[in-house]
């Protein structure tokens, strides 16, 4: 039973990271954008849940929220969860609403925030996104009515009506379906002509422009789609954790998602599947080791040092990752033909 609950928990987290890694693969792996605000868009989804689940639940049930939100949100979350146990429909509304709010908002913000930097070199984009990411966190941390500031906010359990083992299992299955759905979307984009456009821009922006591609527009679209995906992950993450805390969404989280994509193999659509899995295994292994070894400092620090070093070593020694991007077949053929000379080229064509 314990094994099963571990697997369900692991699987839910894997699905969430699969969504994040898919969006990073699309933005960074395929288009080559330093998408350094992943944590902010994840946070956007989570904050929507934190700010809405209790308030909407109370609104529908006709409860008046008393006292400061930061102090009472956990209490009301428990209260509403108990009500949901007998009202499945209420749970479904609370589960669906954050998606409807967060996803369009993230898509809009993803394109709007980066608008000033879209036409400039990637460095500007990276710094604008990092600035945005920190500002989202700082605002949420200090503006307490939103998600309770440093207190965090309680989140309603929308599947409370299913009872103990089933509600976790259903959240897992829903996350898994969304995770694979979004990964499949990334896969389809990557293997379609659109994917070739993205990689063309990544490999040679000037050449892509010369072919008539509107680079800024493509970037804006991909950032909108990627940010919307991250918001989906954020909503699931908040329901999975059962609480929202602004300090959970630092740049370290963005870094972890970048690590997954590099580990898997930038530019290969299978990289999110591989990268997210291996990262989570490393993470669990480190937690396991933590209990075995007496270390005179906080082990979380050591794990970030190790992961940072791992990413650097990967970039130097194995930039392709575990499943490297496959070069286009056409390039290979052209090289072969040019080696054979003109006559064979004609012959080859007639074949």
């Amino acid at each position: 039973m314990e094994i099963l609950s571990f697997l369900v928990s692991f699987g839910t987290l894997y699905s969430i990271y699969l969504i994040l890694a898919s969006s990073m693969e699309l933005e960074y792996g395929e288009l080559g954008l330093p998408s350094f605000a992943k944590a902010a868009f994840l946070a956007l989804g989570a904050f929507t849940v934190g700010a809405l689940s209790v308030r909407v639940g109370a609104l529908i049930l006709g409860l008046a929220l008393e006292g400061e939100f930061k102090l009472t949100s956990y209490f009301y979350a428990t209260l509403i969860t108990r009500q949901i146990a007998s009202h499945p429909l209420l749970g479904l509304v609370i589960f669906a609403l954050p998606f409807a709010v967060a996803v369009p908002l993230a898509a809009l913000l993803g394109a709007a925030v980066t608008y000033p930097a879209l036409r400039l070199r990637e460095d500007y984009l990276a710094i604008t996104l990092i600035a945005f990411s920190e500002i989202v966190r700082v605002l949420a941390r200090n503006y307490e009515p939103l998600v309770g500031g440093t207190f965090g906010a309680g989140v309603v359990n929308p599947f409370a009506w299913l009872g103990s083992p089933w509600r976790e299992l259903v959240l897992f299955l829903v996350s898994l379906a969304m995770g694979f759905g979004i990964w499949l979307l990334t896969f389809k984009i990557s293997t379609s002509p659109l994917g070739r456009i993205l990689r063309a821009i990544r490999d040679d922006e000037i050449a892509a422009k010369a072919y008539g591609l509107d680079v800024a527009k493509v970037r804006a679209w991909v950032l909108a789609v990627g940010s919307a995906m991250a918001a989906v992950a954020g909503v699931l993450y908040a329901f999975y954790m059962g609480a929202v805390n602004p300090d959970d969404f630092t740049v370290s989280r963005t870094f972890i998602v970048v690590l997954m994509v590099v580990l898997g193999g930038r530019g290969n659509p299978y990289s999110p599947l591989v990268g997210a899995g291996i990262y989570l295994l490393i993470d669990r292994a480190m937690i396991f080791v933590k209990h075995l070894l007496p270390i005179p400092f906080d082990v979380n620090y050591a794990s970030y040092v190790i992961l940072g070093a791992l990413l650097i070593v990967l970039l130097i020694k194995r930039p392709g990752g575990l499943v490297p991007e496959r070069p286009l077949l056409t390039v290979k053929e052209i090289v072969n033909i040019s080696e054979r000379g003109d006559e064979t080229l004609l012959f080859h064509k007639r074949e």
Partner: protein
């Protein structure tokens, strides 16, 4: 109000030394390093360790911070950015690597802070340095104001002399201008990169020593100031060392004035990064070449696409 002005000058001196170093590495080795703020904290912890172990005044630790900061920056160039450059990594890969380097340095400092706390029985985080106050014309002035202004101006003048009065400076400027041409002319570009990384780290760490005089510091402080550094570089017009210094004073003073304004309106000063973000967005929207349009009209710099 006087305290706000003093704070603004000390903070701007700090930013100036950091952003000119950041600008130098962007110009020479084309790395927009997200680990630059952490180099300042390397300086802070070097000075803090020496003053905890030997009881030295932080001012006497400045040369040590200079050396250690330069060494750490040199090491990160040799171990991270040079191998990547050889492998032909693009600017985005270099940025991702610098993000990873930030993780390594920042969390190593956290571990170091824990160990420091155990070894010397001092606070590993959220500490400040005691500052001497000097009486100038009947007004009591904190030593950090004079110390950081002197240090910043001496170091900036020395950097100017290095760049414009020595043969090495000519080689560095040639590398900035055109890397391939510099190589053709027999300039050891790799040495130029290494030297500019050393200078960049040394300036950052030296500047860092003045931070604990004004505020409580921990290993994350440098990272949280990274935005201000990049904002200074962007406002100055990327590609201009002079611009980044001017940008630093502009950003530094507007940040402190903004937080003074927030405090007098009764709003949390934590919203301070908003003004930095606004400065970045405004510069990119209105004049991506920043302040440098005031004195240069040619298309220069490495951040143009």
């Amino acid at each position: 109000m006087l305290d706000v002005i003093i704070g603004a000058v000390v903070y701007s001196n700090f930013l100036a030394l950091l952003s000119i170093g950041l600008c130098l590495t962007i110009l020479t080795s084309r790395v927009s390093s997200f680990a630059h703020g952490d180099l300042a904290m390397v300086g802070v912890y070097t000075a803090y360790t020496l003053s905890a172990a030997l009881g030295l005044s932080p001012y006497l630790c400045l040369p040590a911070a200079f050396a250690v900061g330069g060494f750490v920056a040199l090491l990160s160039f040799a171990l991270v950015f040079e191998p990547l450059r050889r492998a032909g990594a693009g600017p985005v890969t270099l940025m991702v690597a610098s993000l990873a380097l930030d993780m390594v340095i920042r969390y190593s400092l956290h571990i170091y802070a824990d160990l420091l706390q155990r070894t010397f029985n001092v606070y590993g985080r959220d500490f400040m340095f005691n500052d001497a106050r000097l009486l100038v014309g009947g007004v009591s002035i904190p030593g950090a104001l004079i110390g950081s202004s002197l240090t910043a101006s001496v170091l900036l003048v020395m950097l100017y002399l290095l760049l414009y009065r020595t043969k090495l400076g000519v080689a560095m400027r040639a590398t900035i201008e055109n890397q391939q041409l510099a190589m053709v002319l027999g300039i050891n570009v790799r040495r130029v990169f290494a030297i500019s990384w050393f200078i960049s780290g040394a300036l950052a760490a030296t500047a860092g020593v003045f931070l604990p005089f004004r505020l409580l510091v921990n290993p994350d402080t440098g990272w949280s100031m990274l935005l201000s550094m990049f904002a200074s570089v962007i406002v100055g017009g990327v590609g201009s060392l002079l611009g980044s210094v001017l940008g630093a004073y502009l950003i530094g003073s507007s940040e402190l004035l903004f937080s003074y304004l927030l405090a007098s309106l009764g709003i949390s000063t934590a919203y301070r990064p908003l003004v930095v973000f606004a400065a970045i967005v405004a510069t990119l929207m209105l004049s991506p070449r920043g302040l440098s349009i005031l004195w240069s009209n040619g298309v220069k710099g490495s951040w143009r696409s």
